[in-house]
């Protein structure tokens, strides 16, 4: 009986979700916002149970002629809705290999959610507001997240050893598929540093609107 209780406790311990805070910086220590982070178990003892439901619906809204969020990380099979929170029309589209779609969205119209079946990077644009740009990163990794403007991402996952990878729209190719070893034991904070600076990005986020 005691043995069963111990096994139960061990099981409870092994699936206890911990909070992982990831701080992504470039080679000079500058924070990196909007980086996708994926984590895959690095050993057999670390459970790979995906905690994201395939039935979940994620959101990429259009607010002030910008997509929110800029980078969205999802699992294959996830539905994404694209609500238009502006009072003007948006024409959301992608020609990416991983998913080709288009939605003509008037104000306050959520449209039909789009299902992203394949892994890969989906570049999303607006045919009316050419500067609007966002990325949907579809990954098989069981655990993932994206850094916010402060360069921090927060993930919930079981304790264990993980291989972490970073993707960013302006990532230098020389970064390759670099794996970062991350140990999670209780609430953990790690800092992941890129080897190179991000490629130059051009800020289309504000300024004149075309007409």
């Amino acid at each position: 009986m005691i043995r069963y209780c111990l096994l139960f406790l061990l099981f409870c311990h092994s699936v206890t979700a911990s909070q992982l805070s990831v701080n992504v910086v470039d080679d000079s220590g500058n924070k990196v916002a909007f980086a996708a982070i994926t984590l895959t178990p690095a050993d057999e003892n670390t459970p790979a149970t995906r905690h994201h439901s395939k039935d979940s619906v994620e959101t990429m809204a259009q607010i002030n002629e910008q997509f929110m969020p800029y980078v969205l990380v999802i699992s294959p099979g996830t539905k994404v809705e694209f609500p238009n929170r502006d009072n003007i029309k948006h024409h959301v589209y992608s020609f990416s290999e991983a998913k080709t779609f288009e939605l003509e969205l008037y104000d306050d119209f959520d449209g039909t959610p789009v299902t992203f079946e394949n892994t890969g990077i989906v570049e999303v644009g607006c045919n009316i507001h050419d500067w609007m740009l966002a990325y949907i990163y579809v990954t098989d990794a069981p655990f993932y997240g994206a850094t916010k403007e402060d360069g921090m991402a927060s993930l919930t996952l079981p304790d264990g050893q993980y291989n972490a990878r970073i993707w960013h729209p302006n990532l230098d190719r020389r970064e390759g598929n670099k794996d970062y070893r991350v140990m999670v034991k209780g609430n953990t904070t790690v800092s992941l540093a890129l080897s190179y600076p991000l490629l130059e990005g051009f800020d289309f986020s504000s300024g004149f609107s075309d007409y």
Partner: protein, 410 residues
């Protein structure tokens, strides 16, 4: 001057559109502006009232200065019908359309994208009139050169555009090239020569007549025997005009536009209303620069010429303005300097076409909410029009205008 019919019509129209919009929100979008203005100036009677003043009104006036419904309706795949309906309390007509066109804007996977417009629309040469319904963005009144564009230059025609997306090309620079072909701009140039530049915010409705002072040289059977009004979008000679434009944008902070316009009108033609064809052509160079997130600089230069008859009227015209606009929270402060000049070189010296002047405009706009804003605008302008003595008016005038406006947007 406010007629009772217009507010009632507007209330009904807006209510109906909002009701439809709430029911079928995916089918179209509507934007609107309603502006009431209290205007006071010391100017000569306005050209709208067959006077020689260069403002929209004279003395003290209460105006429904803008009532705009701008709609976009999906009529097919990547095909949108745009229309801008306007109501005014002054002018020849009080209700009508200023723009109505189909836009075809297909998706493109590459960095280049084609698009086209067909109907009645403005070429994209103004960096000032980028607000809903071609309103000026930082002022109530448009600059002199854009006031003229709003009066006489609207192309009923076809435009083809090629756009290179900087965002897709991973470059800070985006480019656009426009080619337009049109008819119905043959009288364009009439107001520049027989009236001169003006400063106001009254766009000409389609099928509308614009009055100007009955100059003896214009109306006399011994001279041109023409009416003292023009209908700006009239076809006289059957010829097609064109414009070409190039636009470069650095991210969304610098915008440069260069256009060549030539209506290719046959200046020897006149129609049964005795409206002449004016061969009008010009170069236009405009830029706007977001110097800081709060400070915008705008510049626009225009240089051209217009001819009617076999050099019976020939005038070079030039106009320019420079403006700064500074936003601080809900407040926006703007200042603009206008220069305008028309110089004749023709065979009928007694038809006086020379005019020149300058204007200083100061604007304060306070945004009360997302829907409401209040604006105070002052204009000082000094100008000399050589046609005035023929109307027993001193050629040099110095005008002051104050305007207080309440604007509602939806």
């Amino acid at each position: 001057m406010l007629s009772e019919g217009i507010p009632m019509f507007l209330r009904f129209s807006i209510g109906l559109l909002l009701l439809i919009k709430s029911t079928v929100s995916f089918a179209f979008s509507v934007e609107g502006v309603i502006r009431l203005s209290s205007v006071s100036n010391n100017a000569q009677p306005s050209f709208f009232d067959k006077g020689n003043g260069i403002f929209r009104s004279d003395g003290n006036d209460l105006l429904l200065s803008q009532a705009i419904l701008s709609t976009q309706v999906d009529v097919g795949k990547s095909l949108v019908l745009h229309s801008v309906a306007n109501a005014y309390s002054d002018g020849d007509k009080q209700l009508g359309l200023t723009q109505a066109y189909l836009e075809y804007r297909p998706l493109s996977p590459g960095v280049f994208r084609w698009s086209s417009r067909a109907g009645l629309f403005y070429p994209r040469l103004s960096v000032e009139n980028t607000d809903v319904g071609w309103l000026a963005n930082h002022f109530i009144t448009s600059s002199a050169l854009n006031s003229w564009i709003g009066e006489e230059l609207r192309v009923p025609g076809l435009e083809l555009s090629l756009h290179r997306s900087g965002r897709k090309a991973k470059s800070p620079w985006s480019f656009r090239f426009d080619l337009g072909a049109y008819k119905g701009n043959d009288t364009t140039g009439t107001l520049l020569t027989w009236r001169g530049f003006a400063i106001h915010d009254r766009q000409t409705l389609h099928h509308e007549r614009v009055e100007f002072a009955p100059l003896p040289s214009v109306i006399s059977p011994d001279y041109f025997n023409a009416p003292s009004w023009t209908e700006p979008f009239t076809e006289v000679d059957g010829k097609v005009g064109f414009y070409v434009g190039a636009q470069a944008q650095y991210v969304r902070k610098l915008d440069i536009r260069y256009f060549i316009y030539d209506n290719r009108a046959n200046p020897l033609k006149v129609n049964e209303q005795r409206l002449y064809a004016w061969h009008t052509k010009f170069h236009s160079l405009a830029t706007r620069y977001l110097m800081t997130p709060n400070l915008t600089l705008s510049l626009h230069l225009m240089d051209g010429a217009t001819e009617m008859g076999s050099r019976l009227v020939y005038a070079d015209f030039r106009a320019a303005y420079g403006a700064f606009s500074y936003t601080q929270g809900a407040h926006k402060y703007s200042v603009r300097l206008d220069l305008f000049d028309v110089k004749e070189d023709d065979l009928v010296p007694k038809d006086y076409n020379d005019s020149h002047g300058h204007a200083l405009t100061i604007n304060w706009t306070y945004r009360l909410s997302n829907n409401w804003q209040v604006t105070a605008e002052g204009i000082y302008t000094k100008h000399r029009f050589e046609n005035r003595p023929s109307l027993a008016i001193a050629d040099k005038q110095r005008d002051y205008q104050g305007q207080l406006a309440m604007t509602y947007r939806f």
